[in-house]
């Protein structure tokens, strides 16, 4: 396929660059012109986490001229198992600053542009417009759909990667003739039905594998060489170390890239993904479930009340930290209802309050008259009540 960009003239390589990229220059598929194309290229990495770390590092090493990074987060100790652009000394630091330092150390000629923000419908088109290619390393459905739609609307390839536990997916979306993310998944799953990585865990090496596949596709698109992952979904199964490939088709009825698109501007992606903004809800109830703070829970315990606390996390999480709840893992709840007393106020907790909210809603639907969710879960307990309760 043809190279992505045709800037005229291509930038010259300096003497330092000729020696730095010598192993590229002797590859016929890259050569002098290809290396100049990489130097001229502008790539946007959305997220500098698990996928963004290897992506940005390899793109910087390969000689990409301009690398934009979008992130608003700070480095946490639990990131370091996989987010290899950040180091132990960076804990608490902005991911953008930490990433920039590593990238510039690797390649001082690299132009890093930091977008210290959460990508949103209000800023996405403005941020994307200066880039040739977008690499999506985000962690949530609203941003996935946002990146996809913004790429389709601006005609920019979306190099996609996604991971869960031991499994990954990669593809190239939103090229002129290829399918987009919405052709593959017209609708997001309702919140709660698909677990997030924070709940399900992820093998630290997996984003390395998938992020490097994304980086490879970015480079190929810029060079216009090889067969890109357009119209193909690559599946990576790290546990069995098996790679499979599925055919993707452009859906003529796709609401954003189809023949008669109904999405012609960016929409409210939180709403599209069924996420109700916090402000629109009564702070003390969520979807009809009363929320109890950890401070109030502790106050009731200290007052001598025998609170009826159910812990819906997994046994391995219970081993790390617990606050005295009865352990019934979330997926066991439906068949263990007999163990949960309907006549008492059932207070449910998990790590962050998200899973327990789902289970509280399930219990309410199952006819439990008094169900309460512990807002913030173990994390809030560790922050506000007892720091010796281990966060994870």
């Amino acid at each position: 396929m043809a190279p992505l960009t045709e800037p005229i003239p291509l930038p010259e390589l300096t003497t330092d660059e000729l020696s730095r990229y010598s192993r590229h220059l002797i590859l016929p598929e890259v050569g002098m012109e290809g290396q100049q194309r990489l130097k001229a290229a502008r790539v946007l990495c959305v997220g500098t986490g698990g996928l963004g770390s290897p992506l940005a590092l390899y793109l910087a090493a390969a000689g990409i001229g301009t690398l934009g990074l979008v992130d608003f987060d700070v480095v946490d100790a639990s990131n370091l198992q996989r987010q290899i652009i950040h180091a132990t000394k960076d804990i608490g630091r902005k991911k953008l600053d930490s990433a920039e330092e590593k990238l510039k150390a690797l390649n001082p000629a690299l132009n890093v542009i930091k977008h210290d923000t959460m990508l949103s419908s209000a800023n996405a088109l403005e941020i994307l417009k200066d880039y040739d290619i977008v690499a999506d390393g985000t962690d949530n459905f609203p941003t996935r759909y946002l990146v996809n739609d913004a790429c389709v609307l601006q005609g920019k390839p979306n190099v996609y990667g996604s991971i869960f536990r031991f499994e990954g997916q990669a593809s190239v979306f939103a090229t002129e003739d290829g399918p987009c993310y919405r052709c593959l998944y017209p609708e997001p799953p309702p919140p709660g039905l698909v677990p997030s990585c924070a709940e399900g865990g992820v093998l630290g090496i997996l984003p390395g594998l998938v992020g490097v596949i994304q980086a490879t596709e970015v480079i190929k698109l810029i060079l216009g060489k090889g067969a890109p992952l357009i119209g193909r979904l690559l599946l990576v199964d790290a546990l069995n170390m098996r790679f499979r490939e599925l055919k993707l088709r452009k859906n003529p009825e796709c609401p954003v890239c189809g023949l008669n698109p109904t999405v012609t501007e960016l929409i409210d992606y939180q709403n599209f993904c069924g996420i109700v903004p916090e402000a629109a809800q009564d702070a003390n109830t969520k979807n009809g479930i009363p929320q109890i703070s950890v401070k109030e829970l502790k106050r009731r315990m200290d007052a001598g009340e025998e609170v009826y606390l159910i812990d819906v996390r997994e046994p391995y999480e219970y081993q790390i930290a617990q606050i005295g709840g009865k352990l019934i893992p979330q997926n066991d709840v439906p068949r263990r209802l007999a163990e949960i007393d309907r006549n008492r106020e059932v207070i449910v907790h998990c790590r962050s309050g998200a899973r327990s909210q789902k289970i509280a809603e399930f219990l309410m639907q199952s006819g439990y008259p008094r169900v309460t969710n512990v807002a913030g879960g173990i994390l809030a307990w560790s922050d506000e009540i007892d720091p010796t309760v281990q966060k994870y």
């Binding site: 986490g49 985000t138 949530n140 997001p188 990585c197």
Partner: protein, 93 residues
């Protein structure tokens, strides 16, 4: 035929990554799968019995939605079905 179960749904299929079923069509294969593993049903199908929009089913390497006979497509023991749900992870805070 072999039905590949993706990681997020394995809890509902007894932890297995693949399930063997004897079936003559794709819909029969999925029916047998959810008979054996009833918890999978609500993850794969709507209350009206339609495949959910965020779950893709592939017959070998082809999306079932694009097969001429769709779910009525005939299958043999050598064929595979892959269930591919959307996953969002990557940044993973």
């Amino acid at each position: 035929m072999t039905i590949f179960i993706p990681t997020p749904l394995r809890t509902f299929a007894g932890g297995q990554d693949a399930v063997e079923v004897n079936a003559t069509t794709i819909s029969e294969a999925l029916a047998k799968l959810t008979e054996t593993h009833p918890e999978l049903r609500r993850h794969l199908f709507t209350a009206e019995g339609k495949l959910r929009a965020f779950v893709n089913v592939y017959f070998n390497d082809e999306d079932v939605r694009y097969l001429p006979a769709k779910e009525a497509t005939a299958v043999t023991a050598a064929d595979t079905l892959s269930i591919i749900p959307s996953i969002a992870g990557g940044w993973t805070n």
